[in-house]
């Protein structure tokens, strides 16, 4: 099943990645390989508890005691742009979650 460049563009948009035109072609081939992978898994017999076996452990939680948090300066130290109180980002056009 061939993957068309439109699909690659849609995925790049979804992942917020700028890709070059020459990358798109190779990526389409890679995606086709993944489709092949999933097809190859179609007939594998699964154990009954397959769902439970997808994790290596279960039932891990913690109590509700508060602990330390970062110093305000530490929190902002790596920020590309900040005003000493907030992280700053360019204008947000709209809350588009797609």
């Amino acid at each position: 099943m061939p993957i068309d460049p439109g699909e690659v563009r849609r995925l790049a948009r979804l992942a917020r990645l700028r890709i070059e035109a020459d990358e798109a072609e190779a990526l389409a081939r890679d995606l086709e390989r993944v489709v092949g992978y999933i097809d190859s898994l179609a007939d594998v017999a699964l154990p009954e508890d397959a769902d439970a076996l997808t994790y290596f452990s279960s039932d891990v939680t913690r109590d509700d005691h508060a602990g330390p948090c970062l110093d305000h300066d530490e929190a902002l130290a790596n920020a590309p742009e900040h005003d000493d109180a907030f992280f700053l980002v360019p204008k947000i056009v709209e809350k588009d979650e797609a």
Partner: protein, 484 residues
């Protein structure tokens, strides 16, 4: 033409925990920006989530209070999307193994009692907050709120009017207040509500379904009701304009403009969001064991609806009064303490809902927080019921003094000399004075004007500072008028 309104509610409730949902970072309101953050909250490289057990127990108790069916095994999933206030580029939420499904909320409106079915209840983490500065073309992001536990409750579209929507929110808030797990205050943002609304219109021929509209950014229960009202009208108007073709338009999201009292378009849902949900590999699934369910159940007290019914049966209260008393658990408990201290229930309810209620509203607290000992309130009401103090001075003078000083009502009555006057001699004296001082009124009365009698009574009451027993005054004045 028959129009059916369908409203489904999506409510997000912020839980009142000590720490955040997936890390020990303290959870608080009102701290300076970006001071309640840690590596997990900020989504730093290498940080990992560990779920807060108490938050889940709170959510389970809510699910049980709403009659939901708990999952056997519950799991967290990643909801992937990009937004500056979403630190990891995904939100840890729940997709196909939520804490609970089904359940219901009972609502009371003018029309009566109705059940709104629930679809699901799950737990997730909150995002940070962005503040937009359009003038400077940038946004400021604060992550203090990021990672706070949220419970999401989704209802079926069983709500059929704006009034029912209000009743639904109030009923939900009452349950939440009884469980004491959240402040559930829309103005403070710890309860958020997004109604989804559309109309089914039957006008001969096929029923037309208007496109579903989701309304966001509502900041009060009142605005939820108002927004629904104008949105319903707008959808009806759109149908009248466009006819059945309106059914083919896409769903959309609208906001509500408080000043204009109108909804406005925010965006069209042309395509479904692709959140690429998958089970979070960092968080092993949780078994909702018998022990855990028992623990959650033990946190569920007698709930508002049940308490309301009990007040109606045991104490003979009407539905509306009972429901209002039961809105807040502390008020209902307070009422029962006053009754337990020996007060008759109907007067107790009346005083709590009116006089005490007014003082509580003024001080912006609940009745139980006024600091009035239930035994003292019972005492005051008792004095009025026994006729030892008149109702008005009791409410207007004794009660405020009790609030100020915390003293016993009997002591205040004695101090202020408010004991009801039932000494006939005193009344007779005052009546004679009144008759003598107001010959015009006496003449009017003899001429047949009944109102003149009430005026004479009024003079006597004034003279006795309202403390005289009014029945006694009436018979004495009558007597004296006969005499002359």
């Amino acid at each position: 033409m028959k129009v059916t309104v369908l409203v489904g509610m999506e409510v997000h409730l912020q839980l009142r925990t000590q720490s955040k949902m997936f890390s020990r970072c303290p959870a608080r309101f009102g701290a300076p920006p970006n001071t309640l953050v840690d590596p997990v909250v900020l989504g730093l490289p290498g940080a990992l989530p560990v779920p807060n057990r108490d938050a889940i127990t709170m959510a389970l108790s809510l699910a049980m209070a709403l009659g939901g069916t708990l999952a056997e095994v519950t799991r967290f999933d990643r909801k992937n999307y990009f937004y500056p206030d979403l630190p990891k580029g995904y939100q840890i939420s729940q997709y196909d193994r939520p804490l609970a499904t089904r359940g219901a909320v009972e609502i009371v409106t003018r029309e009566g009692i109705k059940t709104v079915r629930l679809r699901r209840l799950h737990i997730e983490e909150d995002t940070g907050k962005s503040l937009h500065d359009d003038r400077r073309g940038l946004s400021r992001v604060d992550f203090n709120r990021a990672g706070t536990p949220l419970v999401e409750i989704v209802s079926e579209p069983d709500i059929a009017s704006p009034e029912e929507a209000r009743a639904y929110l109030n009923a939900l808030r009452a349950v939440v207040s009884y469980l004491d797990i959240s402040d559930a205050n829309m103005q403070e943002g710890n309860l958020r509500c997004e109604p989804n609304v559309n109309l089914h219109i039957e006008n001969g021929g096929e029923p037309v379904k208007t496109p579903i509209v989701e309304i966001k950014n509502l900041n009060s229960v009142r605005n939820v009701e108002r927004a629904l009202l104008c949105e319903i009208e707008r959808q009806l108007a759109e149908y009248r304009e466009k006819g059945p073709a309106v059914a083919h338009e896409p769903r959309s999201t609208r906001g509500y403009d408080d000043d204009k009292d109108a909804t406005f378009l925010m965006r069209r849902k042309e395509e479904e969001h692709d959140y690429r949900y998958f089970p979070d590999p960092d968080i092993p699934p949780l078994t909702l064991t018998e022990e855990w369910r028992t623990e959650a159940a033990s946190r569920v007290p007698e709930l508002p609806a049940k308490k309301r019914r009990r007040f109606m049966e045991e104490h003979g209260l009407g539905a509306y009064d009972a429901a209002t008393l039961c809105r807040h658990r502390s008020t209902a408990d307070y009422f029962e303490k006053v009754v337990a201290a020996g007060c008759a229930p109907k007067p107790a309810a009346n005083w709590i809902l009116t006089d005490l209620g007014r003082h509580a509203n003024d001080k912006k607290v609940l009745v139980a927080e006024l600091g009035l000992a239930p035994a003292h309130v019972a005492g005051l009401i008792g004095l009025v019921e026994q006729g030892r103090v008149a109702r008005r001075p009791a409410a207007q003078q004794v009660l405020p003094r009790m609030l100020e000083t915390g003293a016993k009502p009997e002591a205040i009555v004695a101090e202020l000399g408010l004991a009801r006057i039932d000494d006939e001699d005193v009344i007779r004296e005052a009546a004679r004075k009144a008759v003598a001082a107001h010959p015009r009124a006496v003449a009017d009365y003899r001429a047949g004007k009944k109102k003149a009698f009430d005026a004479l009574m009024g003079f006597v009451m004034r003279d006795t500072q309202g403390k005289a027993d009014s029945d006694l005054v009436r018979s004495v004045v009558e007597e004296i008028l006969e005499e002359s």
